[in-house]
């Protein structure tokens, strides 16, 4: 064998061993289990939050529905927007609700979301009719969409929750709002 062929063979062998040795070594460490070598390992952080209505509030001539939101997950969540409709038990739209300012929630924290309510005349009549029927509470469905920012992504999630609305309290708030 001449020198050129010898050099060629040696470089080829060295190249092959540089390329293959780490992979063979890795396979031997993982018990020759190829799946264990190529399967990704990932433990995603928990993303979880709970929303519950906490009541009505009148502030500077505006009516708000307050929601208590608890971040039970491991990442910061920012509520950037929330648009919802409130529906009566018979499916009638009572009011529209809108989040006026973004609310940031650190993991484990609880904050209040104040949704500004826009109540129409028809809805008022409907609510009054429930009161005239002697009902002091009705179950209100809140349905809409929440716009969140989670770890740099904008997320739009549907929202659905129910709320026991005290009619007396609600009408009293409305009377104060619309004297």
């Amino acid at each position: 064998m001449d020198k050129a062929s010898l050099i060629k063979t040696i470089t080829l062998l060295l190249s092959a061993s540089a390329l293959l040795s780490p992979i063979v070594y890795g396979l031997s460490i993982h018990g020759w289990n190829l799946w264990a070598m190529i399967a990704p390992t990932y433990n995603p952080p928990k993303i979880d939050f709970r929303l519950e209505p906490s009541g009505l509030k009148l502030e500077r001539g505006r009516l708000y529905l307050e929601l208590k939101v608890t971040n039970a997950g491991e990442v910061k969540v920012v509520f950037e927007g929330l648009n919802a409709e409130l529906y009566s038990p018979d499916g009638r739209a009572l009011a529209s609700a809108k989040l006026e300012r973004a609310v940031a929630l650190l993991p484990g924290s609880t904050e209040a979301l104040a949704l500004r309510l826009e109540v129409g005349e028809a809805a008022l009549k409907g609510l009054a009719s429930y009161a005239f029927r002697g009902l002091d509470r009705i179950k209100v469905e809140v349905r809409g969409e929440a716009a969140l920012r989670v770890f740099g992504s904008r997320v739009v999630a549907p929202l659905s929750l129910s709320y026991e609305l005290g009619l007396e309290d609600f009408l009293r708030q409305l009377r104060a709002w619309r004297p």
Binding site: K3, A4, T41, F151, S153, P158
Partner: protein, 196 residues
Amino acid sequence: MTATRLLTLNHRLNVLGLISSALLLYTALSDRPWWTVYGGIGDERTFSADVSPFVVTVEVLGKPVTVPMLFYLNLAARLSVLLAAATTLLGSLLVKRPWSKHLMSLKGLALPVLFLAGLSISLNLAKTFAGVSIPLVGQSVVEFAMNYGGFRISAETPVTAALAQEYWVALTAGVLSALARAIHGRISQLRRATAL
């Protein structure tokens, strides 16, 4: 002929080979990424990936994604490029030996080309199978939807991707090593012509 004489210091050294082996050595020992991609708004990163043939770091929602095979593939790539740098250096110093041409490696050029090709194929596969459109270079918005707790949740993430300076250094090293090998071939031709 004059250029060949100049670049080999009158057939004593392969200057381009020396430069390319130095750049290959730097490339192989550097842990900096060749390609970076991140998704998110402001300082918040939904995901990020720093990729080079020698190190791959992927994080999703602040948590690392690990694939054991990648460590060994990265090690194989690093050893291969170190070997290429060493043989190119040796070949460049031993220009006068007729067998030194076989020491001039082209792996330095193959790696950046294969890296870019592999990246393009992977991004196309991600688009085809996962519907996630990540650019090779530039910005885009990745939109995806998922089912969570019986609800359909949609999400969008601005994505920025770029080839880093390290990639261009590696490509320069590769191109120089190819030129160095061509010069070596030219010297061999001249030597044979002189011998005849």
